[in-house]
């Protein structure tokens, strides 16, 4: 089949005229089972070497190529052409993910995203001595399964940049950071959950989530993002009721 790519372009070095625009590319002899990433490569390799986008593994695990395809966030390497072409010209519209500054074409500034990630202390905390026998800490498979879903996150930002609350307020930590926090809060071995709940109970924490539910269908790893956020909200409420969250312990950098 022949397809038409409609791609949002932006060249930051075009001088005073540098502003985003749409450009169309025609591709011939496309297999319906070709993936969108492969077709972006065909545009870049056969027609216009200036087209810029991030990609690496091309198998849905590295999280480099989240983009907005026909208005929905997806990984370009995980989408087949046949599933996204529309209209008489078999058009596929591709633009950068929303809510992060566009640096060039489909490349956005990921730093604000990773800054939010770091805010939730996304690392294992357990200050007890390791077992005296020099072996692993024990955990039941049932306890391991509780947080299995959120260990799937690849930090591609598809969820966070699909969230209207994040678009409206970039200070909101966003779904991905909450998913990362969830992975530790519900890990029976971890001891940092109080601090994480404190961060997430702040005004720019979980309560910015209005349960709009864009994040869950956006996740290329099929994580139940909204559910994870809900579980964190519940944990905070229970924590507050039991007096676990002490407002005085909340770091000042998370105010306002």
């Amino acid at each position: 089949m022949d397809i038409t790519f409609r791609i949002r372009r932006y060249n930051p070095e075009a001088g005073g005229k540098a502003k985003p625009y749409w450009q169309e590319f025609e591709l011939k002899d496309v297999e319906p089972t070709n993936r969108v990433l492969e077709m972006l490569h065909r545009v870049k390799w056969e027609q216009d070497g200036t087209l810029s986008f991030r990609r690496s593994c091309s198998s849905g695990i590295c999280g480099s190529d989240a983009m907005r395809i026909n208005g929905r966030n997806m990984l370009a390497c995980k989408v087949l052409v046949r599933d996204v072409v529309t209209g008489a010209k078999n058009t596929i519209q591709v633009e950068p993910i929303l809510g992060l500054p566009v640096l060039k074409d489909l490349i956005v500034d990921m730093e604000p995203f990773f800054a939010h990630y770091r805010e939730v202390m996304p690392y294992f905390i357990n200050n007890d001595p390791v077992p005296a026998n020099g072996r692993e800490r024990l955990q039941s498979q049932e306890d391991r399964d509780i947080f299995d879903d959120t260990t799937n996150c690849i930090l591609c930002a598809a969820c966070t940049t699909s969230c209207p609350s994040f678009w409206a307020n970039g200070k909101y930590v966003g779904p991905a950071a909450i998913v990362q926090a969830h992975r530790f809060i519900f890990d029976s071995r971890d001891q940092g959950w109080k601090d994480r709940l404190a961060v997430l109970s702040e005004p720019n924490g979980v309560w910015r989530c209005r349960t709009i539910y864009n994040c869950t269908p956006a996740c290329p790893r099929h994580i139940e993002v909204t559910r994870a956020i809900g579980e964190v909200k519940l944990a905070i409420q229970r924590g507050k009721r039991e007096g676990i969250i002490d407002p005085a312990t909340i770091p000042s950098k998370f105010h306002g």
Binding site: F124, N126, R144
Partner: protein, 606 residues
């Protein structure tokens, strides 16, 4: 030009790089990690099935058995001292990963769960053993995430999307690296006491590959161009189960769970080639068996692929035949091979619960690379002379623990074990070592090469050259090799190099995120990898592990118990017609065989 100064500079942020960063910083060193990707994009994340260690959580196991499987799997080319360290250190390293929070699956009594994996056996090849520690079928993803998390906790400095394009030498010592900042196009100098290369492999040299687009061998190439040899480049592993047409990897864990390979007649052909452990034979053996089936017209529909069947009715039938009591069902597969189901459905619309999966061998892993000793220190020569200040681990390095063929799970073991050892060694080294001075103008040569590529006014697209290289390497320097085929490849590579130096063009003239320019530069690196692979391969007149020749079918332990060291002879790192020299005087370490005859080379049967 901006100059940074850190005691330790780590190039690449996959498992080996992050492991080294963590242990070097814990040892008190000031560490910077420089990576062309955001760390979590690294290809360690794509590793699926597991990481091997003789924890013995489910049945008796010993590091010595793991070392034996590694040596045997490597077709006796692995250095035995290194293989033993790999197996012994694996136990501690994996327990430490658990202490860092890695969410391994668990046994009924709460320990790290383990499963079978190709080539891993108990008691010196007696029967398959449960050795692969796993976290669902995304073990590499969990290792990468856990290590990145711990590096954040330890305040390691990260330079993300800084692409290292040269290594800086002062005489025979390494004193830093040059990186191009992708977002600005500016060159940065990283002045260091120790530089650690952990940049992964170069699967993109071949047409069908499981490797990420970023795996272009650029880290290895910049070191190679400064005179450090590449060891054992002829040993490149083709993983038997790549998704047909795409090369996307399907985990060996599928066969570990009972998946069966079938030809067009529905025959379980691995019974012919590896009567004892069948579908769980070593990767080179299985890849070659698939190739032979295809050559004999037994491919599916007469084409160049076979079927991998994990449907419960198939698996249970063979389990019953083997007298095993274990049975599996759809739910079991959904839980344990979720990634596999997702990949098959997403990419080729096949549901493995109801139909077999079409697979073909895919370029997967380089056993060879920057030669190092057991502490990840790079070496100059067959005598093991250390390159002061230069370290390497993971796929880019060659210790050699994988010999002629790497066992499944051992890539992850390699990067945690030797990343850790290298990190510790560097922490110790920088305590007493001085910063050696930088040479004048350390970026002049590399900037000139980038100018050349940027301003070239030829007619040939980079993509065209790359495609030709990938095809010729797939046709002549892959699963089966002949003298004439490889010579043909060498000639074509010369022609491609000539075109690369004289007749290319790029379209992007900008400085920011110029991916057009970077891809063009990476192609030059891939040509270096392809050259050294083909030359080393044609020179080795025997078949061993992944290096399989139709004109020299047998392994030759009299003449070829040696490693190949390929040197780039030309001083100019960007010479239009580089010349190479091969050294085959580095003997394989056989220290275990000296004490235990079971480690002596013998015919490799499974």
């Amino acid at each position: 030009m901006i100059i940074h100064k850190h005691e330790v500079v780590i190039v690449g942020a996959g498992g080996a790089g992050l492991m080294a960063a963590l242990y070097a910083s814990r040892g008190g060193a000031d560490v910077a990690v420089v990576s062309k990707l955001y760390p979590t994009r690294s290809h360690t994340g794509a590793a699926l099935g597991g990481i091997g260690a003789a924890l013995g959580n489910l049945e008796e196991d010993k590091p010595l058995w793991h070392a034996f499987d590694t040596v045997k799997g490597g077709d006796y080319l692995a250095d035995q001292d290194a293989a033993l360290i790999l197996a012994e250190n694996a136990v501690d390293a994996i327990v430490e990963l658990e202490h860092m929070g890695l969410p391994f699956d668990r046994t009924p009594d709460g320990k790290i769960s383990q499963r079978r994996f190709g080539g891993h056996t108990s008691n010196f090849g007696e029967k398959p053993v449960r050795r692969a520690c796993h976290s669902a079928d995304r073990t590499g993803h969990m290792i990468l995430q856990t290590l990145y998390q711990q590096c954040i906790k330890n305040n390691v400095n990260f330079f993300d999307e800084f692409h290292v394009v040269d290594v800086i030498m002062n005489g025979d010592a390494c004193v830093g690296a040059v990186a191009l900042e992708l977002s600005t196009g500016e060159f940065h100098v990283f002045h260091a006491k120790a530089v650690f290369f952990a940049t992964g492999g170069w699967g993109r040299v071949w047409q069908i590959t499981s490797n990420a687009h970023s795996l272009t061998g650029d880290g290895a190439a910049v070191v190679f161009r400064r005179g450090i040899p590449m060891e054992d480049m002829e040993f490149y592993q083709f993983h038997p189960t790549g998704l047909y047409g795409l090369g996307v990897l399907l985990t060996e864990g599928i066969r570990g769970e009972g998946g069966i390979l079938l030809n067009r007649n529905g025959e379980r052909f691995m019974e012919k080639y590896a009567p004892k452990i069948k579908d769980l034979a070593s990767r080179d053996v299985v890849s070659r068996s698939i190739y032979l089936e295809v050559r004999d017209g037994n491919g599916i529909k007469g084409s160049n692929y076979v079927h991998l069947d994990i449907r419960p009715q198939t698996v249970n039938r063979y389990l019953a035949e083997a007298g095993e009591t274990r049975r599996i069902d759809d739910d079991y597969i959904r839980k344990n091979l979720a990634e596999t189901l997702d990949v098959c459905r997403t990419y080729i619309g096949v549901d493995p619960l109801t139909e077999p999966i079409p697979i073909q061998p895919t370029a997967h892993y380089s056993m060879g690379g920057i030669p190092t000793n057991i502490d990840a220190e790079a070496i100059w020569d067959a005598q093991g002379t250390v390159v002061r200040g230069l370290y390497a681990a993971g796929e880019v390095a060659c210790v050699s623990v994988h010999g002629a063929n790497r066992l499944g799970t051992n890539s992850l073991v390699d990067l945690v074990v030797f990343g850790r050892r290298g990190g510790m060694k560097m922490a110790e080294f920088v305590k007493t070592a001085e910063f050696l001075p930088l040479p004048n103008n350390p970026t002049a040569q590399i900037e000139a090469e980038f100018q050349r590529i940027r301003n070239a006014k030829g007619k040939t697209r980079i993509h065209e050259l790359r495609t030709r290289m990938q095809k010729v390497m797939m046709d002549h320097v892959s699963v089966f090799r002949t003298e004439s085929g490889m010579n043909q490849a060498i000639e074509e590579l010369k022609e491609l190099r000539h075109l690369y130096m004289t007749d290319t063009f790029i379209e992007d003239r900008g400085t920011k995120y110029n991916t057009d320019l970077m891809e063009a530069w990476e192609l030059g690196c891939m040509l270096d990898m392809a050259d050294s692979t083909a030359l080393s391969a044609v020179n080795r007149k025997e078949s061993r592990g992944a290096h399989s020749r139709e004109d020299y079918k047998d392994r030759d332990d009299v003449n070829w118990m040696v490693h190949t060291l390929a040197y780039r002879e030309t001083d100019d790192p960007y010479a239009p017609t580089p010349t190479y020299r091969l050294d085959t005087t580095k003997k394989v370490d056989t220290s275990l065989a000296n004490e235990d005859e079971r480690f002596l080379p013998k015919e490799r049967t499974y």
